[in-house]
Symmetry: C2
Subunit: 331 residues, 2 copies
């Protein structure tokens, strides 16, 4: 018998999420039924959106049920198949959640080419985070060459792709990240024109110096004080893609101090969830995977080892302790 270790959500956070909210279970894997596929998950993705699912509040997706396996994207290998379309050895992405194995009838499995691009990258730049960056930049911000694009959480899975794609479009790109190490990575490795350290204070003035012509497009991943500082530097007729507001995910609302700036600058702001725009995924994934395979799109991963490391790694992600895409290696 095979044991399938899983992380369950067993209580909802009151304020900050804690390790107590999670529980490691170790049930046996059931027998594979007819038409089913068994996948060994190699990597689990940890993403900020998961924090929202832990709350029992109205949002774009139903809350994560209690005592069930935490939601999440995985990539792994088919190890047994009773389905004609899938063979052992197939590399696949899925949404099996925080567990070591997954069983599927084939729906929601996607075959990936693990030779061209490393498997784990399908959870980052060649997966949902990359497509998120692509959508917000191309479909909401739509910058012209020469315009200035800013992005928060710039060294992260989404932000790093936003900035690199904007550079390819001929923009001046300003990142916002936490700490000198992340900022150095953003300018030196990712090739952004400037990076502002939000932990260094004087965020407004630092942004003003980094974006002397003002900000024409902003990709928002964090909210709170960062959003305020960007809005103070925003240009007339700018566009804001609202992708994440991690600053408020622990339940303390992160107010926007001067919403009137949205009016005086005639800003177009749009909140979006990339899974509602499935029509653009094929094009986005092709472009991203091509660029990664060609070595033209950099990414960075923070990897922890073993399913049991997932809760602590996730709490660290919410505090910005990761550096690049946060992944749990399960094998």
């Amino acid at each position: 018998m095979t044991i399938n270790r899983q992380i369950l959500l067993v209580s909802r956070p009151k304020g900050e999420a804690t390790l107590d909210n999670f529980h490691l279970a170790a049930p046996e894997l059931p027998e594979l039924g007819d038409g089913q596929v068994l996948v060994r998950n190699f990597y689990l993705s940890l993403d900020p959106y998961m924090r929202g699912r832990m709350n029992d509040t109205k949002s774009y997706a139903p809350p994560q049920p209690l005592d069930a396996v935490m939601v999440g994207a995985t990539v792994g290998e088919v190890i047994e198949s009773r389905h004609p379309d899938w063979q052992p050895g197939d590399a696949v992405t899925a949404m099996f959640g925080w567990q070591e194995y997954g069983i599927s009838d084939g729906t929601n499995l996607r075959r990936v080419d693990a030779v061209r691009v490393p498997m784990s990258v399908y959870l980052g730049a060649a997966g949902m985070p990359g497509v998120t960056a692509w959508y917000g930049l191309n479909k909401i911000i739509a910058p012209k060459a020469g315009q200035t694009v800013a992005v928060s959480a710039a060294s992260g899975a989404v932000g790093s792709v936003v900035g690199q794609l904007a550079k390819r479009m001929g923009c001046r790109v300003v990142g916002i990240a936490g700490g000198p190490q992340k900022c150095a990575y953003v300018t030196e490795t990712l090739g952004f024109d400037a990076c502002v350290d939000y932990k260094a204070g004087n965020l407004y003035e630092a942004l003003r110096a980094a974006a002397p012509d003002g900000i024409d497009g902003y990709f928002e991943n964090v909210g709170g004080a960062v959003f305020d500082a960007v809005l103070g530097n925003i240009n007339a007729h700018s566009r804001i893609a609202l992708c994440g507001m991690i600053a408020g995910y622990d339940g303390q609302p992160a107010p926007l101090k001067y919403p009137a700036l949205l009016l005086t600058n005639r800003v177009k702001l749009e909140g979006f969830i990339v899974t509602e725009h499935l029509d653009i995924w094929p094009q986005a994934l092709t472009e991203l995977t091509d660029a990664i395979a060609a070595g033209e799109l950099h990414y960075r991963e923070t990897m922890t080892q073993g399913l049991e490391s997932a809760p602590a790694a996730f709490l660290g992600l919410l505090k910005g302790e990761n550096f690049g895409k946060q992944i749990v290696r399960l094998v």
Copy 2:
């Protein structure tokens, strides 16, 4: 010699605007030059945007200069002309500001039909406020029949047109206004489906009752607590036309408490200034004037008498003391 009384801005408000910020001057009218037109202003428009101009801060328009005539729209009659295109007796709108006469070389004068629609209405429903309503509703909110549209300052010059146009599009329309008298006007005369009195407390719950299916489109004129309450009732994929934020015009910022709701509901929000969309004015003015002339679009005016009444009337407008379009009669 003719005296042309004028109201000048002589100091900038520190916080709330006061009567001291204004000064009544009484210079003589200069002789009319070749190619010039002299207009006697019959009505002066008072609008919330003027408060923004009184500040010396970056905005979409340069600040109102000190010791100059306050900016503003006027409607009146040509009384002398040395310009071949304009004859005494022509009814015209212009931006002559807070004064009894205006001199122009013909640019920025627009002829109006004072028989079909009363002259003062060209400052309201058949003028800039009406076009503002038309643009935000048609070009940003773009509601479908059956959807719920909410509008703040619902009895005002802009809000009253927004709601009536939305009713003509088959929407459920919810107004927000200050006090039972305004609310009664909004539902009984303007024909909105419901009106919520923001002064009565429990704004969030009252909106929930008035919009049981949630709000699909919101036309924002006020900001502050009203905006917060609406956002709490906003539906997924709703649109917000950001037209005014009078709650913050006196310099105290009116923060937005839960901006994350823009993300979780995938809201499209757009700030706009109607004078940047001149292409739609002819269509909008034709539709509005036709509906007014046909008696299908109601409007209400608060009129004070004499140029000297303008500063106090304007301060009252900022506090919501007017009821409908605020106008100063100059003759």
